[in-house]
Amino acid sequence: MNNPFMPHEAEVIARHEETADLFSIQLRLTDPVIQSQYRFAPGQFNMLYLPGMGEVPVSIVSDPDDIHIIDHTIRKVGSVTNNLGRLQVGDRLGLRGPYGRGWPVVEAEGTDLVIVTGGLGCAPSVSLIDYVLRCQARYGHVHIIQGVKHSNDFIWHARYDLWRQYPNVEVWLTADAGDALWPWHIGPVTQFFDQLDIDPQRTSVMMCGPEGMMKAVVQDMRQRAVPDKRIWFSMERNVQCAVGSCGRCQLGAKFVCKDGPVFNYDELAPYWGHKGA
């Protein structure tokens, strides 16, 4: 029987320092057979493993169609992520995945998209945006709204510049606080919603980021009569096994690792907003 808990060896083929505590690594599974079978959807995640330290769940940011490349962007917050940040090109680590239910790219076809990300929340949404823009014919207008704590936290300037050049794409940027050179807005992401020209019945909202931000967005969007089933978000819980066995990531009746990490509001409504759920 396949051991669903056992990683495969992967190699770091590129790495990039984004900010002082944020980095991206590009990985390749070293076993060609496993690499050739590896497919993922936007919003899914991998378990990355460092021997003696443990595993962490990390979203895949690369383009799902680019099947030879697995990109991750990671914030150094604790022991495992710090050590992932020390890996150099050629170093090996363990990888298993992809896991979870990603973004509803099929369900959202034919609708306008509002993609809201806060902080590093942008990581899981990057592959979503890449995908949507490549298959733009299937979607309507795309609003990309990115909020960061401080203007210095804003990375991926180039990516945003690129996205802005697409037709029917609008990019809105804001920071809770910013320095004098910050050309964009100051304040919460919800400040833009009045200016968005959306038809609630024909709109899908997708977001990821801190739960506080997501709560505000959900509330606002529901008030605008966006259907509960079309408000989507990516959740974070303690994921250890990633296959729905260890019970650590439960959120109400859901297992974040296999029923999510992307959920729509309808699914989580009974638990939404209750401390400790």
Partner: protein, 368 residues
């Protein structure tokens, strides 16, 4: 032939012997450290003969009786969970290769076939939930599956309930209905054996047994009925998921915050709890690592830890998670409640918190 046969008490040893002869390691209940626990069994005399249990919230005492019965007690310190979902085991190992590579190895080893004598109806119901959880999903658990498949189960119908039992309320007992190879009804003079699988029948056929009389069948039925009637704890009318989820801000959780020790005993004795923690262990030279899993409980703050935050930071949140999951959201996950009515969480809670009482309070407000 009739699947039911009678085995006189004097010949009970022949069951153990037959199982051994058929290649099984035999495990059965016995008294250790003031409780009934499962352990290796070779002789009938090791069984808790003439032992009964007295259980109450936070209290478990064994008593000697005049009876010669071996199964005249209700539930022991643990169901058979420790034998299927083991408390601590290595899932896989990794090794650093010269040149920087990492190789990963499985740690599965052969398991020997094990026959367990004395499995109760509630424990079987719990086992079936675990089978669902560990074996029937998209990613079957190799460790669990292997051990599970090597089991030969000999159930016993309960003829006596402890004060903490409430399997009639969950519909899981006292009569064992499925999931076993053989089942025993214990009478004063011996046992009615009933095979439910071919291999169970093979064992029975090897033994010197007698026909079952109508009177013996009646005695067995009466015993089961007696056990059912002894139970007095009940559950609020189900399904409970909606009731509990909508009680999320009920003020009663706060009183539990004050009383609950958050020690996790209830989850550890519950035969259906499946939560785990995965930890890595490394050799002194840093070259080998083992990925180990062990039992975890939602009462531990670690359970819901993500970087920098404990999601269920207060005891009340954690008690709520336990009760809401076990009796509520379990229904959506497994199509039934996570409680099989064994009463262990009531008995083995050091301060005697009684889930049935708490549920009554929590669900009342939402009762029509």
């Amino acid at each position: 032939m009739n699947r039911q046969r009678f085995l006189p008490r004097e010949r009970f040893q022949s069951l153990i012997d037959q199982l051994k002869a058929a290649g099984y390691d035999v495990v059965g209940p016995q008294v250790r450290d003031h409780a009934i626990v499962f352990d290796a069994l070779t002789k009938v005399e090791q069984l808790p003969i003439g032992i009964t249990d007295e259980q109450a919230p936070g209290r478990y005492r064994l008593e000697k009786s005049e009876s010669r019965r071996c199964f005249d007690w209700a539930t022991g310190a643990q169901a058979i969970k420790p034998m299927t979902f083991v408390a601590r085991e290595t899932l896989w190992q990794s090794e650093r290769l010269p040149g920087g590579g990492i190789s990963f190895h499985d740690t599965l080893t052969e398991t020997r076939p094990v026959a367990i004598i004395g499995v109760r109806a509630c424990d079987l119901a719990a086992l079936s939930i675990h089978d669902h959880h560990f074996m029937r999903g998209a990613h079957p658990d190799p460790q669990y599956s292997q051990r599970r498949q090597s089991l030969f189960l000999i159930a016993v119908h309960c003829m006596r309930s402890a004060a903490t039992c409430f399997c009639t309320a969950t519909g899981d007992g006292p009569q064992a209905r499925s999931g076993y190879d053989l089942v025993l009804s214990e009478l004063d003079t011996g046992f009615i054996l009933e095979a439910h699988t071919g291999r169970g029948l093979d064992i029975v056929l090897q033994m010197e047994t007698e026909a079952v009389t109508a009177e013996q069948t009646e005695q067995a039925d009466a015993g089961i009925l007696r056990a059912a009637r002894q139970q007095h704890r009940t559950l609020p009318a189900g399904p409970l998921q909606e009731k509990l989820v909508s009680a999320v801000e009920h003020p009663h959780w706060q009183t539990l915050n004050d009383r609950c020790l958050s020690c996790g005993n209830c989850t550890a004795v519950c035969p259906t709890c499946f939560c785990q923690t995965h930890v890595d262990e490394i050799s002194l030279d840093g070259q080998q690592a083992s990925h180990v899993r062990q039992w975890e409980s939602c009462f531990n703050p670690d359970h819901s830890h993500i970087h920098g935050i404990v999601i269920r930071s207060e005891r009340s949140h954690r008690y709520r998670q336990w009760l809401t999951h076990k009796f509520g959201t379990w229904e959506e996950q497994f199509g039934r409640s996570g409680c099989v009515g064994c009463g262990r969480c009531i008995t083995w809670c050091p301060v005697g918190i009684d889930v049935t009482g708490e549920l009554a309070v929590l669900c009342k407000r939402n009762e029509p």
